[in-house]
Amino acid sequence: MKPLLPLCVAALLPGLGRAADAVDYTRDVKPLLAKHCGSCHGADKQRSGLRLDTAASIRKGGDSGPAVVPGKSGDSRMIQAVTGAEDVVAMPPKGPRLTEKEIATLRAWIDTGAPTPANEVADKPTTPASKHWAFQPIVRPTEPDVKNKEWARNPIDRFILARLEKEKIAPSPEAERVTLLRRVSLDLTGLPPSQQEIDDFLADKRPDAYERVVDRLLASPHYGERWGRHWLDLARYADSNGYSIDAPRSIWKYRDWVIDAFNKDLPFDQFAIQQLAGDLLPDATTEHRIATGFHRNTQINQEGGIDEEQFRVEAVVDRVNTTGSVFLGLTIGCCQCHDHKFDPLTQREYYQLFAFFNSVDEPTLELPTPEQVKKRDEVKAKIAALEKRLKAIDDVTPEKLAAWEGSLTPEAKAMLPEKIQAILAIAVNGRTPAQEQTLITEYRNIEQTRHAATVLGESNAFGRTAHLLVAGERQALVKALSDAKKEMPAITTTLIVRERKEPRTTHIHKGGDFLRKGAVVTPDVPAVLPPLGIKEKLNRLDLAHWVVSEKNPLTARVTMNRFWQAYFGAGLVETENDFGTQGTPPTHPELLDWLASEFMAPLTLPSPPKEGGEGRVRGWRMKEMHRLIVTSATYRQSSKNRPDLATVDPRNRLLARQSRLRLEAEVVRDVALASSGLLTRTIGGPSVFPPQPQGVYNFTQVPKDWKPSTGPDRYRRGLYTFLWRSAPHPGLTVFDAPDATFACTRRNRSNTPLQALTLLNDQGFFEFAQGLAGRVLKEAKADDEERLRYAFRLCVSREPNQRERETLARLLTKQRELFAQSPKEAQALCPSDLPKDADVANFAAWVAVARVLLNLDEFITRE
């Protein structure tokens, strides 16, 4: 080849006019491309969707379009790339650039029409798609052998213990009973145990007393609230549209659907399918449609001057990225702009996923009650009748107008207002639209008057009266219409996703820019994951089935890892949102796979199955997995720090103990409400407005309406607080509640002075302290020690120790003395509805004690 090249180049030099057929694709071009481009655009890797190992694939091109324009080397991207022309990334990005001669060879081949050899066979990939653990099928591992068989309560423990035994670490003893009860109550329901529940559990000596508690908690409707809220973090649920205008929206029906789905233990596969594609299910129900609100939790930009298409695309991008991180635990979002830097995911594949979500409409679903339907039909009929009458008065056709104009005698014309005369003097086709309109109005007044006047007589005076009558009738109709519209029942609505009849064409967006359209793509899933198995007319429902197919190696692992994270503070895979090659590998890979396979496995229960049919109960049961984890010995360990672990496992990744976890923002509120006895236990409904400090909206573009709820709604659980994306309730933000801009797969657990200020000074928390003081004084035996004990138990469930009793008693005595001397100050700390004969100093002193208890680290911690 080499000796020929100078000849070829000579052949190409302009002006020499020699035939260019000296360049042969197979001999000259193919080896050149293999040498310079093969590592990124060959059989193993196709950066930007481009393959350069066959002439056919060169002509087909990549995500930016064909690589060559036969006959026009100057217009060919390949040449622009190797010469580093403007707007095209210079190629190759690393390694030596092509020589002048080599470039000339490529040009020559293109300019002669880029002839394609027949029967050229593409190379086969030399490496498998990926060896990365997370992309391999889930194989149920066998449970390992352990020495301390006594300790292990279920298979989870054997996996944990096997590793601990290998490291020669002993697990921690079980937590104290009351600690365990508070822990599991908070983890499963987000509420502390009641005094009765504590007493019952401490008195229950049956060996399965704890398992009975778990059953009770899983059956509680508060379980759905607790675990529903975890899911709402992923769903980026909020009650407003986001961006800068951030207008309110109504989508709480979706929130309630999630709570209900958890409570009725909807299997996770159904749970996922209904949210991703409920609208496409055969015989989709209203519930299924509400579930599609999952992907309507995207933001809506209502700012002036925006490009609507840009923000429609932003929402689709969010849907792809959220689906990727929530179900697959992959950082698919990286591929919006370029091929993934680390994982085997390409930009083309990103837009193939994008194509699944690109063809949706975003309607609002009305959810009327039967009474509302009836009422609405009545009002609609009423409105239609009124409108018909109004139309009869208002209707003016051009023909009617022309006939009227023709019928006007000069005398009649002279009686018309001057303005009208002036218009009539203009030729019909010379009148402006505004003049037309003036004429129509006048005609309507006069002509309609005439109908009435005919009845009343022809005199002018009568005519005027008739005119007034008609005008009066019109006015009355308009008013009746506006009144009727007010009678329309206020129907609850929710945002849903609906597939379009005609799908949109999806292009690759070059560099992630929706204006720079690249190659057209059709829906498909990434090649590194199991194929869909179908090729024709793919839609979101196919994708949803694929997401929860048993072959999918990610969904079950990712979901189980997130469950684990909620119970231990960190997942088995610590990077819960990155199961790709840059994520941390699992600490206990077999345990993760065992959990995943157990999660998917059809579970057979002794009782006959209600659903699923054929003598077996369906898999993907969430409650069963919760039960397994919280009944394990691993979960039940004490969370106390162990000096012996500090060197070998400082971050508690091996789980030789439990972790102390600060409660989530909503639960901080919930435990305060429960302890003070103020909690309203209503499940679901429109979001509410608990009090918040003044001035929260000084910093938002559009001031928000926040009229504090009164009555029971003032004391609802934290998850029902109305969430404005641009300014969430400060009591939530300060404890790291997400603001719902993106899917939140793990919350921070920060520890800041602003949290201290909230618990100390917030009006809401002060009300809780007053509530707690009142409750203790009312419910406990009238004895300081008994009351202190009761108050302490209300807040942290356990009994106070000697030192704690002394500290609190000292505070109580001192405050009581101080307040006795300054009754005014005492009065200020008491609620306004305190009975007149109440001991104000005593109450105020108890408010002080209550404030201390509500500010304890232990109070906002799951031990």
């Binding site: 001057g305 969370s639 573009q701 801009t741 002075p753 000074n761 609190l808 304890l856």
Partner: protein
Amino acid sequence: MFSDNPLLLHTRRHFFRECAVGLGTVALASLLNEGRAAEKEAELVNPLAPKKGHHRAKAKSVIYLFMAGGPSQLELFDHKPKLTELHGKPIPEEFIKGKRFAFMDSFTKEPPKLLGTRRKFDKHGERGTWVSECLPHLAGVVDELAIVRSLATNVFNHAPAKIFINTGAPQAGRPSMGAWVTYGIGSEARDLPGFVVLQSGPRGPRGGAPMWGSGFLPTTFQGVPFRGGGEPILNLSSPKGVSADHQRDVLDAVKELNSAHLADTGDPEIATRISSYEMAYRMQTSAPELIDLGKEDRRILEMYGAEPGKASFANNCLLARRLVERGVRFVQLYHTDWDHHGGGGENLTTGLDKVCREVDRPCAALIKDLKQRGLLEDTLVIWGGEFGRTPMGEVRDTVGRNHHIEAFTMWLAGGGIQPGDLGATDELGYAAVDDRVHVHDLQATVLHLLGLDHTKLTFKFQGRDFRLTDVHGEVVKKLLA
């Protein structure tokens, strides 16, 4: 606290272990392989404790005067006689071909016409710097300023553009500049948050909390908005009727019980909680004194045009000085209504006059005041909006200017900044032609002045390292003293 940062969590656990077994800071230092044990130790208890950056810092603190809406550089700093000469002529097509603007429909009818300014420009200061008549006070301190006329950004709508200049990305959710800075070097303030946000103008800026948010960084680093009028920090005052003594009694009891529980569980998170409560209490004590401008000298109040008790940009400038005096690392002042399209009050005549009047005197006073106190040399002052405005007119009620991303002007002063003019636009002021400074370059430069290398200040999230400047940005060397 650093739940997303395994190393820090790790070192914290180590710290407590080492202390528990009696090893001192020497052992800890060798453990960390950094000679910064005392610093680390402080950080374990207080994540906002001051930290060393990557190199020696020129500036200790930042006052960022954010002119929300996009001030018109062509009325204030970018003197373009040619534009005035061609006033009323259509803009040559090569300038706008293929370009996108907000409110595109305003351009669809006919090619937009050039709009010369009606404002008079003069040369000021020793260098003869062009500043318009709109900013007479600022013109008086122009020798202290580095005026950059060649800024460029990517995004042309308000909220995304503001979020972009603050966080390096146009979508909400990344950490803001102030959060990155306090994450990187903590704060000198013991009694106050490290990053404070102040606001003046009729409403909050578009973009909202994400502009000073901590994104995926721990929330400790997010900007704390001080509210104009009333309580500067939410829940700063004790509940109504609770005396200071009573509050202290409650806090003492909380501390005693938390300490006992720390001894019982051994969880260092409780130690952080105890220190958080102490900081909260100090904030309760110190913040009211901080915001009480009544104690300032009358001449100082006059210089700023500040009136104690009133919410204004002038008060905020004075407050900003008091904040950096107390060691607060990053203070950001938002002043809204610089969006002069030409409609309603948003015009380039009375509308612009009004906002200029509100900021001109206080900005100049801030520079003078910082200088006379010796604070200017280590306080970086930044002035500017999220983008600039077009040389073409936009016809609404009056003729105003549209959003423009190709060129705008900002100025910087103080800590490590070389005063002077930097960069230039073409003769119509359409695009930056000399020394173009992209927003990411500005961000890199701000971090550099604070002793931070923008390529090294990273946080791992969703599987990759993130930074303020994304994958872009170069320190603007010409801005450095």
